[in-house]
């Protein structure tokens, strides 16, 4: 998989460090998670139905096709969640998640 989004402007912003599937990634303050994913891994999640990877679709919180995981089992909608320092994202459910912790 390849990065797909291309930054065209607004590049003079504070860097924010996070990880995607354990790999460190530098984002910029104000990026939403989907932007960071599409600038790096090129996808957001894997379809539950075996049709491959997904990368969101509407970017306005309507299609729900960009929900990602955090290392501790949380769920985030990537297109409407801004990046935050130290966030540990996963494109698939973390190991040993079930039962989901309270």
């Amino acid at each position: 998989m390849q990065a797909r989004f291309v930054r065209l402007s607004e590049q003079d912003r504070q860097p924010v460090m996070l990880t995607i599937d354990g790999a460190p990634v530098e984002a910029l303050e104000g990026d939403v998670l989907l932007t960071v994913l599409m600038l790096n891994t090129g996808f957001a999640r894997v379809s539950e139905f075996g049709d491959g990877r997904r990368a969101g679709f509407c970017m306005m919180g309507a299609c729900q096709d960009c929900w990602v995981w955090t290392e501790d089992g949380g769920r985030l909608r990537a297109c409407s969640t801004p990046v935050s320092e130290g966030l540990a994202l996963r494109t698939s459910a973390p190991e040993g998640l079930w039962p989901i912790p309270a």
């Binding site: 998989m1 390849q2 797909r4 989004f5 291309v6 930054r7 065209l8 402007s9 607004e10 590049q11 003079d12 912003r13 504070q14 303050e29 104000g30 990026d31 939403v32 932007t35 599409m38 600038l39 090129g42 996808f43 957001a44 379809s47 539950e48 139905f49 075996g50 049709d51 491959g52 990877r53 997904r54 990368a55 969101g56 679709f57 509407c58 970017m59 306005m60 919180g61 309507a62 299609c63 729900q64 096709d65 929900w67 769920r75 297109c79 801004p82």
Partner: protein
Amino acid sequence: MADPRIIVVGAGPAGTRAVETLVAAGLRPTVIDEAPRSGGQIYRRQPANFTRSHEILYGAEAAKARALHETFDALAQYVDYRPETLAWAVKGGLVHIQKDLRVEALAYDALLIASGATDRLMPLPGWTFPGCYSLGAAQIALKAQGCAIGEKVVFLGTGPLLHLVAWQYLKAGNPPAAVLDTSSVAHNLQGLPLMMARPGQLLKGARFMAALQRAGVPVLRGVEPLAVLGSGETGVTGVDFRDANGQERQIDCNALGMGYHLRAESQLADLAGCAFAFDENVRQWLPDIDAMGRSSVANVYLAGDGVRILGADGAEAAGALAAHALLSDIGRPLPLEQTRRLQRQLARHARFARGIAKAFPWPWQQVASLPDATLVCRCEAVTAGELRGAVQAMHAPEVNRAKAFSRVGMGRCQGRFCGLASQEIVAAARNAPVSASGRLRGQAPVKPLPVAVTQDDAHG
């Protein structure tokens, strides 16, 4: 008598003008908006630390965008403004809302819903591959994130947004690889007389097309999209289509923006019990409203693209008008001259919108004949063949039964992106008109809620 409790859902063009009208009458409505900042989608604001001007972001619409943003910002102190808040149900005189992990139920005496629209989509084989986005998404990436969805983008579909977004990408220094429009010049000419209702708008559209052609961007008309090329693993590598001469062709790209004008976000109106009617012109079920924006439910008012797709200017007029209707219904005087002026504006926008529907028609015949293997429902991975099976083998008489049998539209997006296509496929499989195939009913919550939400008991 205490001031009536008024709730406005949405802070886009319609919501902002509604709130402005209500505040001018001395009322203090509660304003529920999903976005972190007002503006809606078309005048969506960039994050606070971005620096581009309104002129760069909104082009010829910069003055309108600025006026709308400044209006809302000045009103915020007079209203109970709830940004980043989802209105997820309307039931029994309560609007149910959620912010982060808290839910609340707000009682209202009058409710004004200005919930906007999302892209109308025709599914295609491969449209779930990474790199495929709605036109709205392509525009949001650019405006709110300063990014292109890809270095080599094809824009596919029809409607005003197709040429606008393509032109915005060109202007931002990322010229599209191609623009593939399912409408033909003959369609455009059919819509022209009605579109003369707004000559300025018509001229803008023509300028976008001319600029794209001048820049050497291939703009093909009358195409039939066949498939997105690539795979679920590698993502988009191109698009396969038939050109106006019937020739099958492929164009390489690493991202695709697609859309066929808009569909109304009408779920909340549905949950509030508003009556709907089928609009032949746009082939969508839309809530009934009177000339002021009153729904069939006594204290529920509807405005903007969530009830009639008239665009941002029409939404501003409709928002103000619906607020005047609300005020008049609670015994405030109706400003007759202003009301008539707004209604005249709205009539012009409605005429233009009928022209748009003719000029850039929803290619429903193409939708109805999508190959069986096409994933129609992205959420539940339901194919066109499975949907046809629900009709032909299981005798589903309309889309809600077809949903029960096949799970089409049952997923997390609630049919926002497959519902209209499903109606066409079900209708064709029944050999019946689409108006006789029903519409997917709205369900609460209209968007997913976190399982950990808790009720805020402190608020009554």
